[in-house]
């Protein structure tokens, strides 16, 4: 994915070249546009009907009204008014941001270390590929099963508690292991660290190894090389990974519901609760606010890196 903007730069360069050389020849641009449109037609079709239209629909419905059983078209700000004046909303948004921040810090720390090990300490390409695949395989398996698989570990009589008791660390089983903020964040880290590992590893593999040699020739210690050479050059990968993790955590509802045993809430759960009560307009209003928040966070992240140039 990281090559996307090169593509743009490249094609940009090509098309400006073409424009210069074929300034008098006006046909030149038309076929490009036509083939481009024809080839991206199915893509545009899917994106329009299953992304643009649904978002538009959510925005429209967020102004509608609802009775207990049905929703009716209207243009009222009641849903937003209710949402923005309720203290629950702010608490839930704060909770969502808290989950995102803590998960981000943990996945970044773990993901960076893992990618750093793979890229700079594993020497043969075969091993790099094998170990990298080991890190990515869980991505292609079911998230729900991976959440369920924490139950035997974290439960009151689970492996963690019984091990700690038999080691004499604790006398009573810890209650906060399962169905708590702890288990929610643990599951997030478990599910999403590979979204950090993959882009960071990808950028690290493209760092010219002679730069590292140059750093050590100039007397930099391993740690100085890391902070002065590797981390700055890995920034694009870190940003992409961060965008993935933060948006996944902010938009989640199922992990929070399952791992907290319905005891904790985030914005996604607010939406899904409204949906289960058939309060679609209220769900839509919350969804609009969530979408705006997510897009704001991403635009802030994009400020740190020019994604089209750096990707």
């Amino acid at each position: 994915m990281t090559d996307q903007s090169h593509l743009f730069i490249q094609s940009n360069a090509i098309s400006t070249d073409q424009k210069k050389s074929k300034r008098t020849f006006h046909w030149g641009r038309l076929p490009d546009n036509t083939t481009g449109w024809l080839l991206s037609l199915p893509l545009a079709f899917v994106l329009f009907f299953f992304l643009v239209l649904p978002i538009a629909m959510i925005v429209v419905v967020s102004f509608w009204g609802a009775t207990e059983f049905s929703i009716y078209p209207a243009f009222q700000f009641e849903n937003y008014e209710f949402l923005l004046t309720s203290p629950v909303t702010y608490q839930v948004f704060w909770n969502t941001i808290k989950y995102a921040l803590v998960t981000w810090v943990l996945t970044l720390g773990i993901g960076f270390t893992v990618a750093y090990f793979l890229a700079f300490h594993v020497r043969s390409l075969t091993w790099q590929v094998v170990l990298f695949l080991l890190c990515t395989i869980p991505f292609w398996t079911s998230n729900i099963i991976r959440m369920i698989s924490w139950i035997p570990f974290l439960g009151r009589n689970g492996i963690a508690n019984s091990t700690l008791i038999s080691m004499g660390v604790i006398d009573e089983p810890l209650e906060w292991l399962l169905f708590s903020d702890f288990s929610v964040i643990l599951a997030f880290v478990h599910l999403y660290t590979l979204f950090m590992v993959v882009p960071i590893f990808n950028t690290m593999m493209r760092i010219d190894k002679s730069l590292i040699e140059a750093a050590s020739d100039n007397g930099a210690s391993g740690f100085q090389t890391l902070t002065n050479v590797i981390i700055p050059l890995t920034k694009p990968g870190i940003m992409i990974g961060s965008i993935f993790v933060i948006t996944l955590v902010m938009g989640d509802f199922i992990t929070v519901r399952f791992m907290s045993g319905s005891q904790k809430a985030n914005v996604g759960r607010l939406i899904s609760n409204d949906i289960s009560l058939l309060q679609y307009p209220s769900a839509a209003a919350t969804a609009v606010i969530l979408l705006i928040t997510v897009l704001l966070v991403i635009s802030v992240l994009l400020r740190f890196v020019d994604i089209r140039k750096e990707l």
């Binding site: 593509l7 546009n33 729900i144 570990f153 948006t247």
Partner: protein, 279 residues
């Protein structure tokens, strides 16, 4: 070869722990799914049996698991084929900048970062307001594409970025038309990457939950069925199901990766026929 530094061993240990963290829970439920018929959701094992697997095959016991499995399988294949075709076309389109390509690019990124529940909610609302009934093969299928297509496209963008255009020029010089160039030159060269796109398309669809939640209709896909089970099943039968579907995923991943491996091996064995008098 220079000696391994101390930090290597520290990092290797960290990596090992990470793998344990990644796979440990899955292996645990793998073990616990062989729990004896009196056993519970955690250790100790009360005997070893296939009791819970047998439960899965008795249909009434735990809902419509096999029906939902076949629906997920069918949907996964549909999404896979569509993702490959649309991504290749999109990849080809984006090799040149065209009017509107910027908009589509940002829509792809939006599709990737938008909270899944919004797609689910929006598509569900559209279908209900249009008086259509949601079904996994229509609304569910479209919603899942908004998740698989960005991955497929980003892979294709990366592929075409590295693609050596002189192969195409050579084909054209020898008189191939543009369809022939794509069919006999471009597609064979990118074939291994297409298998990768197919892997993403199938597995992401097969495991997708949030985007199908409100768009699958009255017939559940497997992840929806499993989620339903978590609220009312309190026996290791859910571990048995988890183990089976994870094994299935591993088999699928294994098959796809082996195909790529075989393709690459074959390619390097046959190599180029340049200068061998082939016409």
């Amino acid at each position: 070869m220079e000696k391994r530094s101390r930090s290597f061993y520290a990092l290797a240990a960290f990596f090992g722990l990470f793998l344990v963290f990644l796979y440990g829970p899955t292996l645990t439920i793998g073990m616990l799914s062989f729990q004896g018929s009196q056993g519970g959701l955690t250790f100790p094992m009360r005997g070893v049996s296939l009791h819970w697997f047998r439960d899965l095959f008795e249909q009434q016991a735990v809902g419509d698991i096999w029906g939902s499995f076949f629906r997920s399988l069918t949907l996964g294949l549909m999404v896979m084929v569509t993702t490959v075709i649309v991504s290749v076309m999109g990849g080809l389109a984006f090799r040149k900048r065209f009017a509107g390509s910027g908009v589509i690019f940002y829509l792809i990124i939006t599709s990737l970062v938008i909270p899944s529940i919004l797609v689910s909610l929006g598509v569900g609302l559209i279908f209900s307001q249009a008086g259509l009934s949601v079904h996994w093969s229509t609304s569910g299928y479209g919603s899942q594409l908004t998740w698989t297509l960005p991955f497929g496209l980003l892979i294709m963008f990366a592929v075409f970025n590295r693609f050596d255009k002189s192969y195409e020029e050579a084909a054209r010089d020898q008189g191939a038309n543009s369809w022939q160039t794509i069919r006999y030159v471009v597609l064979p060269i990118i074939a291994p990457m297409l298998i990768g796109v197919a892997l993403f398309g199938f597995t992401l669809s097969y495991d997708e939950f949030a985007r199908t939640l409100l768009t699958a209709g009255s017939y559940n896909t497997l992840p929806l069925e499993i989620y339903g089970m978590t609220t009312n099943v309190t026996t290791p039968v859910i571990f048995a199901l988890g183990t089976l579907t994870t094994l299935f995923s591993f088999v699928v991943i294994g098959v796809f990766l082996s195909i790529v491996l075989v393709m690459n091996k074959r390619r390097s064995r046959h190599g180029s026929d340049a200068g061998k008098g082939m016409v």
